[in-house]
Amino acid sequence: MTTETSYQPIVHDDRYILEVNELKKYFPIKGGLFGKTSRYVRAVDGITFNVERGTTMGLVGESGCGKTTVGRTILRLTDKTSGQVLFNGQEVHDLSKDELRRKRTEMQLIFQDPYSSLSPRLPIGEIIGEAVREHNLVPKKELADYIAKVMNECGLPGYYRDRYPHEFSGGQRQRICIARALALNPQFVVCDEPVSALDVSIQAQIINLLVDLQKERKLTYLFISHDLSVVEHISDTIGVMYLGNLVEYGKKEDIFSNPLHPYTRALFSAISIPDPNYKMNRIVLEGSIPSPANPPSGCKFHTRCSKCMEKCKHEAPVQKMIEPGHYVVCHLYDEEKGVEDGAATV
């Protein structure tokens, strides 16, 4: 399988802190006696989006669709296969090891599992302050006060710094993770399902904490989640992923009020409304998500799509802007006018 699909390089626009262009990440499947690469898992198969400074982009999609891989490839925790990742106009994957290490302070990651993401053998003050010391972000004398300050911002009393992770609850641990990320004073944070391991009341606390911190520090978030209500609460823009592709992407209001892609509609119909009189009109998808190692031809969603056309089976759709800042990848919108049910109006 060749990976040198050509893409048009984009020019940096200073409004955007992050520009992702045709990003692909294929994982090789080694097989046979000599570990020959026989196939690839197309975890991320050419996605394009931009994140504006100081905003939050929500990335939703079902399990295994490549959300986490997108986050990690952007941070260069895994190497890309092709495409562009511009962070402040700088290609992240072109940085040398030393440059990357210095750049890491500017973009941080918050993990899904607050239990395995903290080393059990270090006190939390050390966990938070370790990288600060390593990067010489604050003078040595002020380090202790700085750590206490960051911990306070994240809702942790400063005297916790000598305690070890096993003494904390899940919510507190997630605060420690957030403190670790924010201690480096980043501009951009990838939040990889930061609340899905927590119970609902704690989720709200953490989300509000993230929102508050964003306001204080002018942070930009890439918020990865499969929980639509959380994403709706925190995001400015939303991207919907299906099997390695960004099927729809646009402002939160546009997407929620006018979902275009059949997958987005199916997804949003599953949001539960806390109202017993509300009749849910769920669109139930048939079958399960296909293997990214052997994706369907044409539009990857056509095997499960209720509006599947003959064209969808052979021809992959391209990203089209339907309204300003609202992009969709679907053959339904090939012509200027929607083929049916007027979804593409306005």
Partner: protein, 574 residues
């Protein structure tokens, strides 16, 4: 400042909760484990016992204890002679086969016999002595109807005098004739007969000659003179030999013994007693021999004899027709298998060394070998396992295949073979100990390498490692601050457990004689002394203490290992 802050907070504030590090938690859990504490006590005791005890004991590691004791040692054997004893003429040979042929011929009443192609004849010197001569055929006589033809053999020229003497002898039926002082023996029938020249080769006698001085020995010529004189002996006699006149007289104590005197001095004694010293370099003087003979004749069982100014006591023990002379003597004896006493609290072993001291020094060596071997295992295992786990790919593959190969090596046969090779090469015991540690270490690292590799593989994928990378920590810091501390618990448990098994292996090898060797002690080679059932059942103090030390030490290490494993297990409640 800390105190001030404490005073500010309220009594139920969680700021007052004592903070425990994971290490402290492990320690607390460990201390609460009773078995583990027993193990620690065992090992601590063993350390004190071995390392301090060696200094306190007054004895050395390989000090052998000996004492002088009076022992009855065999001194000489005495028997009465009932067989011919042979005295050879100088330069002549009388083989064993011929000796038995002689006895046979004499019993059959013959005077000649042949053995291995040589013809022999013998004549009686006296009743108890025979002179044996080898015969050589010099002439042959063939008679045809009254006329005798005589021809020489082997270049012997037949003179007229010889011919007439030979013919006369044949005709008269004589078996020997003399010519010019040489005696010829005639043998054969009427028709064909031979004349033989004869040469004496040996004397066969029932008599035993004992000489007064160790420098004079028996010889053919002396003996034949003495035997001839003895044959005619009737209470008094004499013979000449070598220009001297020897007088013969019966011994005053024993009539059967004849004393031979030279110039009034006792020169030799003729009897049928054989007195043979047990050790070859001992000369038993004639006077002592006389005493022994007298004692035997009188039936006395003990006597004293002074030799070189030392008076010793002798006793005579009879068994059948043999007597054994035993001497009471001070002998240096190794104190082997001494039962426990104030001097040797645990007794002594089969080499006469103090067992308690040996066990102390053995403990040093066993513990040291245990620790060094485990250290080598850890060093190799952590480095190779760490490399395999961290770098992965072909490096991992290569190292793990090496590990697989090491797992396939049958350790016990290999150790036995290498031990025997070192035995064969006579390697210095100290060097050997080092080799033993190296070999055990080299055989033991694969399991640790596997453990470390597995741990690192699983830790590498943990999110806190990803977090460490995402926060831009250096590789060194990631390995040493995040990876290693998380591998160490398993390593400690594993190392503690393998300490016990290494000590066991070392003890086994030493027991088999292919581990630690004398003069160095180890618990294994102390038990090695128990090589038979007799020692095992009768000298319990030899092997029980050393065995007990091994048991306690291995048990201690295993208890500590178990305790550590439980303490490290985060699932255990505080």
């Amino acid at each position: 400042m800390d105190n001030e802050r404490k005073n500010d907070v309220s009594l139920n504030s969680d700021q007052r909760i004592k903070v425990l590090s994971p290490g402290m938690l492990v320690f607390k859990r460990f201390v609460r484990n009773r078995l583990a504490i027993v193990g620690v006590c065992c090992i601590g005791f063993m350390f004190l016992f071995s390392f301090l005890g060696g200094f306190l004991m007054p004895y050395g590691e390989a000090q052998v204890f000996t004492t002088y004791t009076e022992m009855l040692n065999d001194y000489a054997g005495v028997s009465r002679n009932t067989e011919f004893r042979y005295t050879l003429k100088d330069g002549k040979d009388f083989p064993l086969v011929a000796r038995s042929q002689l006895v046979l011929a004499r019993n059959n009443g013959e005077t000649t016999f042949s053995s291995q192609g040589v013809d022999y004849s013998f004549t009686e010197v006296s009743e108890t002595c025979l002179e044996v001569s080898a015969m050589q055929r010099v002439a042959e006589a063939n008679s045809f109807g009254g006329s005798v033809v005589i021809s020489g053999v082997d270049g012997f020229t037949v003179s007229a005098a010889f011919e007439s003497a030979f013919t006369e002898a044949i005709e008269s039926g004589a078996d020997r004739f003399e010519l010019d002082g040489v005696e010829y023996i005639v043998s054969g029938d009427k028709r064909v007969s031979g004349a033989y020249s004869s040469e004496p080769v040996a004397l066969a006698s029932y008599n035993v000659f004992d000489f007064a001085s160790s420098s004079s020995t028996n010889n053919f010529d002396f003996q034949i003179a003495a035997e001839t004189a003895a044959g005619e002996f009737d209470g008094e006699g004499s013979f000449e030999f070598g220009g001297e006149t020897y007088m013969m007289s019966p011994d005053p104590d024993d009539d059967e013994v004849i004393n031979i005197t030279l110039g009034g001095e006792l020169y030799a004694q003729m009897s049928d007693y054989i007195i043979q010293p047990i050790e070859s370099d001992v000369f038993i003087s004639l006077d002592m021999r006389r005493l022994i003979k007298e004692c035997i004749a009188d039936g006395v069982t003990t006597f004293t004899w002074e030799e070189d100014g030392v008076e010793s006591e002798y006793s005579i023990v009879r068994s059948n027709d043999r007597w054994t002379i035993k001497r009471v003597q001070d002998t240096l004896v190794v104190d082997k298998y001494q039962f426990p006493s104030a001097e040797h609290p645990l007794g002594t072993d089969g080499n006469g060394m103090d067992l308690l001291t040996r066990i102390m020094y053995g403990g040093r060596i066993s513990l040291m070998i245990g620790f060094i071997v485990v250290f080598i295992e850890l060093l190799l295992g952590v480095i190779l396992g760490g490399i395999a786990g961290y770098f992965g790919r072909w490096v991992d593959n290569l190292i793990m295949r090496i590990v697989d190969v090491f797992y396939c090596i049958p350790a016990t046969p290999l150790l036995i073979i290498l031990g025997s090779v070192m035995n064969g090469m006579r390697i210095d015991p100290q060097l050997r100990m080092i080799y033993l540690m190296l070999i055990l270490g080299f055989l033991g690292w694969p399991s640790i390498a596997r453990l470390v590799r597995g741990q690192i593989l699983s830790l590498r994928e943990q999110e806190f490692m990803v977090a460490a990378e995402a926060t831009g920590l250096s590789v060194r810091r990631r390995i040493f601050r995040h990876l290693i501390p998380n591998v160490i618990p398993q390593l400690i448990v594993n190392a503690t457990m393998s300490l016990g098994s290494v000590i066991l292996t070392e003890a086994t090898l030493s027991f088999l004689g292919i581990g630690v060797k004398y003069p160095f002690a180890s618990w294994g080679n102390i038990i090695n002394d128990v090589s038979d059932v007799y020692v095992m059942t009768n000298y319990l103090f030899v092997w029980i203490p050393a065995g007990f030390c091994i048991l306690i030490t291995v048990l201690g290490f295993n208890f500590i290992g178990d305790g550590l494993r439980d303490a490290f297990d985060p699932k255990m409640k505080r």
